[in-house]
């Protein structure tokens, strides 16, 4: 049995702690460059109090959000989550955001994503995991491809910001593809 489910090589996943995590989330959301890549909803600084309330909401079985800690420094650097879980279809989505800029582009995100996939396939017994990413977010797309995600479709001009329309790419990975990618 794999008891290191939540420990990777560079990061570990932990359940969110409203007291401490809300402060970081409130700080990260002020970086709208980061926020706008992350979500299609209008960015808005909802503030620490609101984040605290959201984190304290009772978890439901359709979404599982984790805080991502850098192992060496034991520092909260981002979050990752499996959400929109549809048990009867074995389908879900994954979302990831590396809040601390100095930990981006160094493999921490990819490692956290791998842990989330292991959780989705091994623990939640999902059949597939999907995600959506801006066509212009090349670094994220490379990380997803490294984890075994395949492009499944494009919604043309779905993101509209700064008076520019951008495509949104949807990617997915099946359990079989994930098993193969990880048995090598």
């Amino acid at each position: 049995m794999d008891n290191q489910l939540f420990n990777g090589t560079l990061v570990r996943l932990a359940i969110e702690n409203p007291e401490t995590d809300a402060a970081s989330l409130a700080r990260w959301e002020r970086d709208t460059e980061f926020e706008r890549v992350l979500s299609h909803k209008p960015v808005f600084p909802s503030g620490q109090k609101k984040w605290r309330e959201r984190l304290e909401e009772a978890p439901d079985e359709r979404q599982f959000w984790f805080s991502v800690f850098a192992l060496a420094e034991d520092k909260l650097i981002g979050f990752v989550g499996i959400f929109m879980v549809r048990q009867q279809h074995g389908d879900c989505m994954v979302g990831i955001g590396m809040g601390e800029p100095e930990f981006r582009g160094k493999g921490y995100g990819t490692d956290a994503l791998r842990l989330a996939l292991r959780f989705a396939f091994r623990e939640l017994n999902m059949h597939r995991v999907a995600l959506m990413v801006l066509a212009t977010n090349a670094r994220a797309i490379r990380s997803y491809e490294k984890c075994g995600f395949v492009r499944e479709g494009v919604t043309r001009g779905a993101d509209y910001r700064d008076r520019i329309r951008r495509d949104v790419i949807s990617m997915g990975i099946l359990r079989s593809e994930w098993e193969r990618a990880n048995s090598r």
């Binding site: 409130a26 002020r30 209008p42 600084p45 609101k50 008076r163």
Partner: protein, 186 residues
């Protein structure tokens, strides 16, 4: 392209935090000049309790469609004022905005101008709105100059719409289209 929407040079936009900001807003409402420049409603001093209550009511009434920012000074993070977008009609791309700089000593330093430019960018480039509407009063010549300087046009004059100091004053409505702002900033 501007990537940071909430960080200006001299100011930044922050969420309203009842514990931190109710005190400052309450102090401003004790200045009749501030209250009378801000709204046609009867000016009255508000305690922090009332500030929080009003904010909750505004939030409940508009649900998600209420974007309220506290304007904070970057130098010492003190609250300078507020600005918000309200009554948003997504199907028409319409919104009303309001803005206030709390203490007289903070006015005339460019905080309002920078806040308005940031609000324009947020309204037209993040929320993709079509136009913005602002209101002021006949005796508030400062606000009128401010609005005209930033590209607003006078659209409606409601004759004798408010009464103060024993006489009637007109209510003024100003509007600006997204393209007009974009062209002005080309």
């Amino acid at each position: 392209m501007i990537l940071q929407l909430f960080e200006g040079e001299k100011i930044r936009f922050a969420a309203f935090d009842a514990d931190k900001d109710a005190e400052a807003l309450s102090k401003w409402t004790h200045d009749p000049e501030y209250m009378r420049l801000l709204s046609p409603d009867p000016a009255r001093p508000l305690a922090p309790f009332h500030i929080k209550k009003r904010f909750e009511e505004m939030e409940k009434e508009a649900g998600r469609d209420f974007y309220y920012f506290v304007i904070r000074a970057r130098e010492d993070d003190r609250a300078l004022g507020f600005t918000h977008l309200r009554w948003i009609e997504w199907n028409h791309g319409n919104a009303h905005f309001d803005m206030g700089i709390g203490s007289a000593s903070d006015r005339g330093k460019g905080y309002g101008s920078e806040a308005l430019q940031m609000l324009f960018r947020y309204a037209f480039e993040e929320l993709n709105l079509y136009r913005l509407t602002g209101h002021t009063m006949e005796y508030n010549t400062g606000a009128q100059k401010f609005l005209l300087k930033h590209g607003f046009q006078l659209e409606v004059r409601r004759r004798e719409a408010l009464q103060r100091e024993g006489r009637y004053w007109d209510g003024l409505t100003y509007g600006i289209l997204a393209d007009e702002w974009a062209n002005a900033n080309r």
